[in-house]
């Protein structure tokens, strides 16, 4: 049995993977057992790091929309350095111009939205490194 740490929906789980004699693959997670299909020769996919607000180990940081609305203005340039608290976007929501600020100091690596885009709560607006 092989011990692995897997991440599902942002939560980490310690699991034991077992290959049975008849070729099935079982995954033991806590007190549950799951039978899974495995792909051989699969293309390695880029593992997306989900951000954790407490962890400084992650160096990518996603700026998300706190409520649904419209991107009214983009206040900083892609590639520029930004400070914690600096205004990055104006999000028009609930009839107000909401300031979306940078959660930390860093480089505004990527802006993922354009002016007049509609966004939902939780949509990623930018990545700070």
């Amino acid at each position: 049995m092989e011990e692995l740490v897997v991440k599902v929906d942002g939560k980490e789980y310690k699991v034991f993977v077992e290959e049975t004699e008849d070729g099935r693959v079982l995954v033991h997670c806590g007190s549950d057992v799951y039978e899974v299909e495995t792909k051989k020769d699969a293309e390695p996919t880029a593992i997306q790091r989900l951000h954790s607000q407490q962890s400084a180990a992650f160096d990518k940081f996603e700026v998300v929309a706190p409520l649904p609305g419209l991107i009214y203005d983009i206040k900083a340039k892609e590639g520029s350095s930004v400070k914690q608290g600096q205004s990055l976007f104006i999000l028009m929501a609930m009839k107000m111009e909401n300031d979306i600020t940078s959660p930390k100091d860093g480089i505004l690596k990527e802006i993922k939205v354009k002016k007049n885009n509609n966004v939902n709560r939780g949509d990623v607006l930018a990545i700070i490194e």
């Binding site: 310690k14 706190p66 409520l67 609930m94």
Partner: protein, 510 residues
């Protein structure tokens, strides 16, 4: 009586009060001992310890027993006011809650309730003492019962100064306020080990139940301090706003701030453009007695700001919207935050002042499916139930249900004030026009028509005069008179007495 008896007593007491073992363990971790914490918090030489010779009865643990059974209990004064206090000693069996440990705590809680004095718990415990089984659990039940019976009669404050696991968390959860210390406190029902066994999930103490999880996500913790001493200092500050019990008024401290001070700065703090946001903290600082604001739950549901402050020396509870977070709208967490605070103020005779600038409720299936209906109803219930003076000032927006919840005189607010910038209506212009003028706009879909209808709606409805004509707003004031008027209203309402029909208790939506 011979001096031998006295000598024996002094020796026994020396052993019982010996802090050496605790000091060795705690100081290594950079923490204070239970006795040191009490010594720091209470007035010097005021502490009288009770039950210092109590010992566990369980025969299995006979060899390990120590006087006091892992908790220091007693009474003393804080700024000359009597309080009852208990502090768990982590150096004895992990601060675990055995039968006698729990009995000691319920003893002082009973005295606190009988004498109408605040009760403070300094928690530092791994949870129930396994070997003592049901005896420990049942004795713990008495603590929870006393927390509940005392609720609304005496202020109950808990500080989590270390681990607080399993049944140890329930007493704090029943109290009025919980303090946590950054990087020191943890609270959870089931710890990381148990979670890993049952669900396989891997998580550390800090992420699971540290101060960040509880101050921002769960809302279980109300205050986060940077150190143990700062935490104890904050408890003292909090007590300064509270009466000893529900039969007393909150303490009055003459203000170092004139009652006739104009607040012209408010005109520039709140932007003229209703679409622009601002920080409500600035409004609070300018209006209430200088430096008197003590924010409660600062990092939970930040779209609403609540806390204790003073107006010309009198304690008030402030409930306000924070326009720069989530556009100041209401949602599930802020409904809980407001209702809890309003009910606390009502318990302890603290008048409430609302500063209203709310655009509505946060839309979305997430809110709907998690019960914004029943959580939002808590706000209506708490304000209607409250018999303390309730004053509401509309700064800018007050729409729909949020208007009723935070301003409506018929719902129980004693005074409803408004600035000239107030917009009080069922809903905003664009939304309203799309509903009321649906047919017109369907027939002739022109942006110009819509614009003119929106302007018309704004002129007709989005001002305080419509409400004032109906008596729904009783006074419109200039921002520069805000402090002066709020003080006058408050002082006029301090003698308010209101009856409620007798009943066992209501059925607040939970």
């Amino acid at each position: 009586m011979g001096s031998e008896k006295i000598k024996e007593f002094l020796n026994r007491q020396k052993d019982a009060l010996n802090d050496k073992m605790a000091a060795e363990l705690q100081h290594k971790k950079g923490k204070l001992t239970a006795r040191e914490r009490i010594g720091y918090l209470l007035d010097a030489d005021s502490f009288m310890e009770l039950d210092s010779f109590a010992e566990l009865k369980n025969t299995e643990l006979e060899a390990k027993k120590r006087e006091g059974d892992g908790v220091i209990t007693g009474h003393g004064t804080i700024n000359k006011r009597p309080v009852y206090i208990y502090a768990q000693d982590f150096s004895f069996m992990g601060g675990s809650m055995g039968e006698m440990h729990n009995r000691k705590i319920s003893n002082i809680m009973e005295l606190a309730l009988k004498t109408g004095c605040p009760c403070i718990g300094l928690l530092d415990s791994g949870g129930a003492r396994i070997q003592e089984g049901v005896a420990a659990l049942d004795a713990g039940g008495k603590i929870f019962q006393l927390n509940t019976l005392s609720s609304g009669i005496i202020p109950q404050i808990s500080a989590i100064l270390g681990p607080c696991a399993g049944i140890a968390v329930y007493s704090p959860a029943l109290t009025d306020f919980i303090f946590m210390v950054k990087k020191t406190s943890y609270m959870f029902i089931t710890g990381p080990d148990v979670i890993k066994t049952v669900t396989g999930e891997v998580i550390d103490f800090e992420s699971l139940g540290g101060f960040e999880a509880h101050e921002a996500k769960s809302g279980v913790s109300y205050f986060s301090a940077n150190s143990e001493k700062e935490c104890l200092d904050m408890i003292k500050i909090l007590l300064g706003y509270l009466p000893q019990n529900n039969l007393e008024s909150p303490p009055y401290f003459a203000a170092n701030d004139s009652a006739s001070r104009e607040t012209k700065k408010l005109e520039s703090i709140v932007p003229e453009d209703p679409k622009k946001t601002y920080d409500i903290h600035e409004v609070i600082e300018e209006t209430f007695d200088k430096k008197s604001f003590f924010e409660v739950h600062p990092n939970f549901a930040a779209n609403v700001v609540v806390g204790l402050a003073r107006l010309n020396g009198n304690v008030v509870g402030i409930v306000s919207n924070q326009p720069k977070v989530l556009a100041g709208c209401l949602d599930i967490n802020s409904s809980d935050k407001i209702s809890r605070f309003v009910r606390f103020c009502d318990c302890f005779n603290i008048p409430i002042v609302n500063l209203v600038d709310v655009t509505g409720y946060l839309p979305g299936t997430n809110q709907e499916h998690n019960g914004i209906i029943r959580h939002g109803a808590k706000i209506l219930y708490s304000y209607s139930e409250a018999t303390v003076p309730k004053i509401s000032l509309v700064l800018r927006k007050a729409y729909g249900g949020a208007y009723i919840a935070l301003v409506s005189k018929n719902m129980g607010f004693d005074k409803a004030l408004a600035w000239p910038s107030a917009e009080i209506a069922v809903m905003g212009a664009e939304q309203a026009v799309s509903i009321i003028n649906k047919k017109e706009l369907a027939a002739k879909n022109s942006d110009k028509l819509k614009e003119s209808l929106v302007e018309q709606y704004k002129e007709t409805y989005l001002n305080p005069y419509v409400a004032a004509k109906l008596g729904a707003i009783d006074t419109i004031i200039e921002p520069k008179d805000t402090r002066i008027v709020l003080i006058k209203c408050l002082e006029m309402l301090l003698s308010k007495r209101e009856k409620r029909p007798a009943k066992k208790h209501g059925n607040i939506p939970l």
